[in-house]
């Protein structure tokens, strides 16, 4: 195990992730904060790589940086008259307190606890070459029920999104007038 490489990589990537997450908060423009969000996702994918989770890292790039950000782009494009500033709401102060509190709490617990983590020789021997295969076997073996439920969830989300944003045509005399006013 190359400790220096991992140390440098961890610090650089975590700096990128946290700083760009902060810039999501601080950017004045919604699109700017979207760019920083994608940068944060990419840094997070790099952190996953340092944890030797190559499949998850690539899936992170594919789903977060590639798909969810594009969904947000679509939402921006479909709301052309809405404001583009990244203004703060009434709940900023409670949010700040809550976020700071949770970050401090997690940090305190993480540093203070004596984790029974495995390092040294035991970690060096473990084999990472088959992450994809192992995850696939887990998903279709032990967690197959959750996997199926997740797929059903995706299907319903898909249908729900379609039903929600469907524009009803003028000829339809639908009892519920929602969406038809446009």
């Amino acid at each position: 195990m190359d400790s220096t490489g991992i140390v440098i990589g961890f610090w650089a990537l975590s700096a990128i992730t946290v700083v760009s997450a902060l810039l999501v908060l601080l950017a004045r423009n919604l699109l700017h904060s979207l760019v920083f969000l994608v940068l944060s996702f990419l840094g997070m994918a790099g952190l996953f790589l340092t944890l030797s989770a190559d499949f998850i890292a690539v899936a992170q790039i594919l789903i977060y940086a590639g798909s969810i950000s594009v969904l947000m782009v679509f939402a921006v494009m479909l709301t052309p008259l809405a404001s583009r500033d990244n203004g703060n709401s009434l709940y900023l102060l409670p949010g700040l307190f809550g976020g700071l509190g949770i970050a401090v709490l997690v940090g305190f617990v993480a540093i203070d606890t004596e984790w029974a983590e495995h390092r040294g020789a035991a970690l060096a021997e473990s084999d990472f070459a088959t992450t994809v295969g192992t995850v696939g076997q887990l998903l279709l073996g032990r967690y197959v029920l959750a996997f199926e439920i997740a797929s059903v969830l995706l299907l319903f989300a898909f249908l729900g999104a379609i039903v929600l944003v469907q524009e009803r045509r003028r000829g339809d005399d639908d009892a519920s007038q929602d969406g038809a006013s446009r």
Partner: protein, 487 residues
């Protein structure tokens, strides 16, 4: 009407050295440009800035290298096996007692420079080939003034692009305006990582190679959108919206066709996909023709080439999402477009056309030459399509993805899954099973495509802007075409 002779035109005003500037000219002159902002900066400061930038780049590269170094145990960069020559170099360096990390850095640099120079050469030659071949299709000469046969035209173009003024439109979002030319360049480079050029000659021979290619290509969507959004131009925004909608739609058929490939070859490593095709002496385009077709067509949409280049349709919306980019920024967009075409050629030949293998020919000819030949053939196919096919409309393209490619792709993936399980369990010789699969897949594809075209045809005159699912046999598809022909 009048008899009076026309008054002679007033003599042209003599050109003055300092013409009084019109307000608009004055505005243009007053506008701070990149050059002006750099004018006052002393040379040492500029040099220091350049050094800092280079050092930052080098540090970032080093970080990226070191990250992939340790925990993945060499799975991520098999450049150290870059053919026999570098294998010899590696052995020599190891004998000299050089640290293994330095060896990897050296070999990785060699591999990266190799890929980059191949790509640069392709960009130069490819743009010349495209213009000449396209000219032949249109019965004209093409570029023929610069050098013999116009061979130096790409270099002249590059020099012209670099010398052009960089204009930033007023009202552009500066921050977002600078990002896209770089951001769209990155995936076009990174996509070359997992492509195997020959046996043991892959930059990133990773376990998740197929997923990696899909993931990397999905980043380009954001660059396109940002380019269109930040330009503060309606043409740009229109082009960006079209392109984003199209790229998102066509990512799904690509994923489905690659799912078929992965199911059949039981591996997501690109080198093992090639090894499968080499081992059974069959190209996957024979086994799963529909997946190959869907991949090729969707890739043309993904990389904005004709017939699917509605994002930058020059006859409708000037240059689409990069209308407002000038100079080398626009040059980067164009170069990336060409580079994407070559990348798709490489991926297509790797997934479906046997990659660097050619039925035993690879033992006599280096594998990368075979791969380059296949890439060139697919590139010629792209140019051919560009010279032949008209451009689709946006609604036609979206309907084609969602109503045609995706349902049939899902069906194809099901069939391939069944076949893969049969293939894994049966004891019959591979020739018989794979031959049966090829016949079955081809038959299913033909039947389904016919059926789908009958059921789900498209009537352009009926619903020009919003395609509807037409179940009525009288409205669209082959039946309608037949009726029109009979009438």
């Amino acid at each position: 009407m009048s008899d009076q002779p026309l008054a002679p035109p007033p003599p042209l005003a003599p050109p003055t050295a300092h013409r009084p500037a019109t307000p608009m000219l004055q505005q243009i002159q007053d506008r701070p440009g990149v050059r002006d902002s750099l004018m006052g900066v002393p040379l040492p400061l500029k040099a220091a800035g350049a050094v800092v930038g280079l050092v930052t780049l080098a540090l970032l590269a080093g970080v990226g290298f070191l990250v992939v170094d340790g925990r993945l145990e060499g799975q991520w960069y098999d450049v150290r096996d870059l053919g026999n020559a570098t294998a010899g170099l590696r052995g020599w360096l190891q004998d000299e007692g050089v640290d293994h990390r330095i060896i990897w850095v050296i070999l990785g640099t060699i591999g990266g420079i190799g890929i980059l120079s191949v790509l640069g050469g392709w960009l130069l030659i490819g743009s010349w080939v495209e213009r000449r071949v396209l000219a032949k299709f249109q019965i004209r000469s093409g570029p023929n003034r610069t050098g013999p046969f116009g061979l130096l035209q790409p270099i002249a173009d590059a020099v012209k692009l670099m010398a052009k003024e960089i204009v930033i439109p007023r009202g552009a979002d500066r921050f977002l305006y600078y990002i896209p030319p770089v951001l769209i360049f990155v995936p076009a480079m990174l996509g070359w990582g997992p492509v195997p050029w020959a046996e043991r000659m892959t930059y990133l021979d990773i376990d998740v190679g197929v997923l990696y290619t899909i993931a990397i290509s999905s980043i380009g969507v954001l660059a396109v959108f940002l380019a269109g959004w930040s330009s503060n131009n309606h043409y740009s925004l229109l082009g960006a919206m079209r392109t984003v909608a199209m790229m998102v739609s066509y990512e799904i058929p690509i994923s489905l066709s690659l799912l078929s490939v992965v199911l059949l070859t039981q591996s997501m490593k690109l080198s093992e996909i090639v090894a499968f095709q080499d081992h059974y002496h069959v190209w996957l385009i024979v086994l799963i023709p529909f997946a190959a077709f869907a991949f090729l067509f969707s890739s043309t949409a993904e990389i904005n080439r004709t017939p699917n280049d509605i994002g930058e349709a020059e006859s409708e919306i000037v240059a689409g999402f990069y209308t407002e980019y000038s100079g080398m920024k626009a040059g980067l967009f164009m170069g990336v477009e060409l580079g994407h075409a070559i990348l798709v050629g490489a991926l297509m030949s790797t997934f479906f056309l046997g990659g660097y293998t050619m039925f035993g020919l690879e033992e006599w000819i280096p594998g990368y030459l075979i791969l380059a030949t296949k890439i060139a053939a697919i590139y010629f196919l792209f140019v051919w399509l560009r010279g032949t096919l008209p451009r689709f409309r946006l609604d036609q393209l979206m309907g084609y993805a969602w109503k045609f490619l995706i349902p049939i792709g899902i069906l194809q993936a099901f069939v391939v899954a069944i076949e893969a399980s049969v293939f894994a369990r049966s004891d019959a010789p591979a020739l018989i099973t794979l031959g049966a699969f090829a016949v079955v897949n081809l038959a299913i594809t033909v039947v389904i495509v016919r059926f789908w075209a009958d059921r789900l045809g498209y009537a352009p005159s009926q619903h020009a802007t919003r395609p509807q699912l037409i179940a009525d046999g009288t409205l669209g598809g082959l039946k309608a075409a037949r009726k029109i022909r009979e009438a």
